[in-house]
Symmetry: C2
């Protein structure tokens, strides 16, 4: 086996047939940067990073990869939390960073045709400039790219009203593992001409094809939004509160976080505590501001019923932003604790029993660790973050979490839930997939992988093993 530097030299001599020198990076710092995502527990060891500037370059690379004997890791904004964009084994990272343009805007269709490397925030901004709205949003929207959103079917904070990324993908251009370019659906609303391959690529984590362009659908701008934060004393009452508001206002978000989550945000950011007294749990609601009267009535009702103990509501856009900061600041505020992130979901009706399940697991197995609860409870999605104590070595911490996770996953399986609600499978959940998918489903997924990527060059060993 050649040494690293020989391998690198060999790669340069081959890659220069496809890329210009400025499109290739092999310096250690660059390999470390583009070779990983937001996870910290996986080996990072790419052979090189390439920055294609056209679909043709990607096609050439994919077609040559089998003879070169290298695998490819498609890479977007690298904000993933499951290691889907990590290159642990001398792969070539294919960064979409330089394919980040808006190619066309079909005004009547409200469709933006863009390259996969477009940053989510830029699509949101483009929409606003045109009096429109791109409704998928989450805390990493300033770095994440549309191609990555599609490859992971990104969700976020407004799924309760607008669904996942999938719903907004009107057309998709992908390069398959054989270097074929598929242009799927062309932005059509109605197209009943056989299997909708587009939907197979959404959420496939770069294992079936490289998303290179997309036609993303926008919608009219919503009304001004109002934000309400509620203090809740009892986990059991969360769903009562959701139901009460859902029957009276159209919710854009229904978020949940624990007192410990709030404490972490308050310690990290200069924001005031929303209520003078602490409560074990909080909910954040967002809805059209013109529904404020009925929202206030509903609040009075759940207060009287004892489902909530206090509430605060935004009276301006800046207040709304400040309340959102309590929820959106959580991930950032706990990042320094190297959290072990469980991203789990059940059907909404299963939420109360599921929260009790989780509470039991946490009390029994993590009594000595800090556990930060938050999530999109309106979608049945809970983020359970186990924080690493400063004195515990990271490997020991992860090993302990990995030992406990299957106990949690078993309870999720019993409720027909998902062990990865929106973070994807990548490397982190791959060996636990059977808790949410049957053996036959996993077998079929392997067969599908074989159809689209017969030479196994696209993101190998992510999501499923060969």
């Amino acid at each position: 086996m050649p040494s690293q530097s020989t391998a690198t030299e060999e790669f340069w001599s081959k890659a220069m047939g496809v890329f210009a020198a400025h499109q290739i990076k092999t310096e250690p710092d660059d390999l470390a940067n583009w070779g990983t995502d937001w996870t910290k527990s996986f080996r990072v060891d790419p052979l090189a990073i390439v920055f294609p500037e056209s679909i043709d370059q990607i096609v050439h690379l994919v077609k040559r990869a089998p003879e070169w004997g290298v695998a490819l890791v498609p890479s977007g904004g690298r904000t993933g939390l499951s290691g889907g964009a990590v290159a642990p084994n001398q792969e070539i990272v294919v960064s979409l960073d330089r394919m980040n343009k808006i190619l066309a805007f079909h005004e009547t269709d409200k469709i933006v045709h863009c390259q996969a490397g477009l940053v989510t925030l830029q699509l949101q901004a483009f929409a606003i400039e045109h009096g429109l709205f791109y409704p998928v949003d989450f805390s990493s929207s300033g770095s994440s790219q549309i191609g990555g959103n599609i490859a992971t079917n990104a969700g976020g904070i407004r799924v309760i009203r607008y669904g996942m990324t999938r719903r907004w993908v009107a057309g998709l251009t992908v390069v398959t593992g054989t270097g074929e370019v598929l242009k799927l659906n062309h932005g059509l609303i109605k197209n009943a001409t056989g299997y909708d391959l587009r939907h197979l690529f959404v959420g496939s984590e770069g294992t079936l094809g490289i998303v290179v362009e997309a036609e993303m659908r926008l919608i009219p701008q919503p009304e001004e939004q109002q934000v309400m934060v509620l203090a809740i004393s009892d986990l059991d009452r969360i769903l009562d509160v959701l139901r009460a508001f859902q029957s009276t206002v159209e919710l854009s978000a229904f978020e949940f976080f624990s007192e410990l989550a709030l404490q972490k945000v308050l310690a990290h950011r200069d924001v005031p505590r929303p209520f003078s007294n602490a409560s074990p749990f909080y909910a954040l609601l967002e809805y059209d501001a013109n529904q404020f009267e009925v929202a206030n009535e509903t609040f009075e009702r759940v207060l009287e019923a004892g489902s909530v103990v206090d509430g605060v509501v935004s009276q301006s856009l800046s207040q709304a932003t400040a309340l959102w900061a309590l929820r959106e600041g959580i991930s950032e505020s706990i990042a320094s604790f190297t959290p072990y992130k469980n991203d789990i979901s059940v059907r909404i009706g299963e939420v109360p029993g599921f929260l009790k399940d989780v509470d039991r697991i946490v009390t029994q197995h993590y009594p000595d660790l800090e556990v930060v609860w938050f999530g999109h409870i309106g979608d049945g999605n809970l983020h359970l973050n186990i924080l690493k104590p400063a004195e515990l070595a990271i490997d020991d911490f992860y090993q302990r979490c990995h030992e406990i996770s299957p106990k949690l996953f078993s309870l999720i399986q019993n409720r027909e839930g998902s062990i990865s609600a929106e973070h994807g499978v990548g490397l982190l959940k791959r060996d636990f997939l059977n808790y949410s998918r049957s053996d036959e489903e996993i077998r079929l997924m392997r067969e599908l992988k074989r159809v689209f990527d017969p030479y196994r060059i696209l993101n190998p060993n992510k999501l499923i093993t060969a």
Copy 2:
């Protein structure tokens, strides 16, 4: 080869191991009835019709079919328009008629878990009984079944607001071609655990698996709706009218029909002409009745601009129903003319040019035939119905239409449109699939078929040939 009756006898002796006698039909009338759909131009020659009453029976049948040497045609309400449920070649028709129950209602999730044979209208009625709404609707909802809707990704009249059937499928149980039962997604909103096979089955026309159960999502009931019908003199102005209303009210429907379509309805039903003067084209709009003021203002604006020449608006539910009858009565009123149905779509922005394309084709190639135009123009979907003159033999008529279709399909291909917007491919469009899907897409579709149905027993030669 055994004679028909020997084959039938042999089938009975084998099938009695799986089904009770009352679950099998082989009488000629029954074969003719359950062996076809709403199409009239395909050979109908099934071996038998079976009526399973459980998933187990379907699994047994699928597992034995290869050794019996028979293929299976899954069959729902048989309202299809592309021959997807036709049994032309001694297949066993697997009717879901007796698997038509609602199994559970998850109130918090607003999910109905039902068997595939549930009639669409019954799901709609169940929703209303529970203060909810199932938004997919079309003229065959009184006969069509949920399983068939899923297998064809049914669309209809409110797609502009609520999307296709796909959006409402929260979970799916299918039996694959190897007799494996897949329970997909379990009603979850967020589930990022690999390839979403559910979406592969939606619109697969029974070629990858038999849909046996589904979890369908309901929504809160919408506001009362108002209906407006507009008279339009110029095809070019249709899209101006759509844009004007879309920017002011939230449309639930934007339908289009021609004067000839209206004439056919008036001749067939006892309904009055909406305007004293005939216009070449009409549009029907539906929107929340509480938006009537801004709708009226918009009408005044498009009237002044000359985009419409007249308008009428519903003042009650019965008036709204009467106006809808003008549009919904079209299919029924032209049924006796054995129409050759083109169901085509383009991106909405392409509609004006596309309508001109179609006009040119019609003028050039069908000058002597009646052509009824209608469709869901708000979704880019046009139904172009060529009526058979009474004196022309059906085979000659179809042959002539089949000769002209490719000219139309070429123009659709140039605009990246779909040769089957919502009717599916079945037998009717199979040999024209290349106008909307690339060679590589069709090759991949064949590979997927092989993965899910390796013995080729599920609806063979529908959608794609082997």
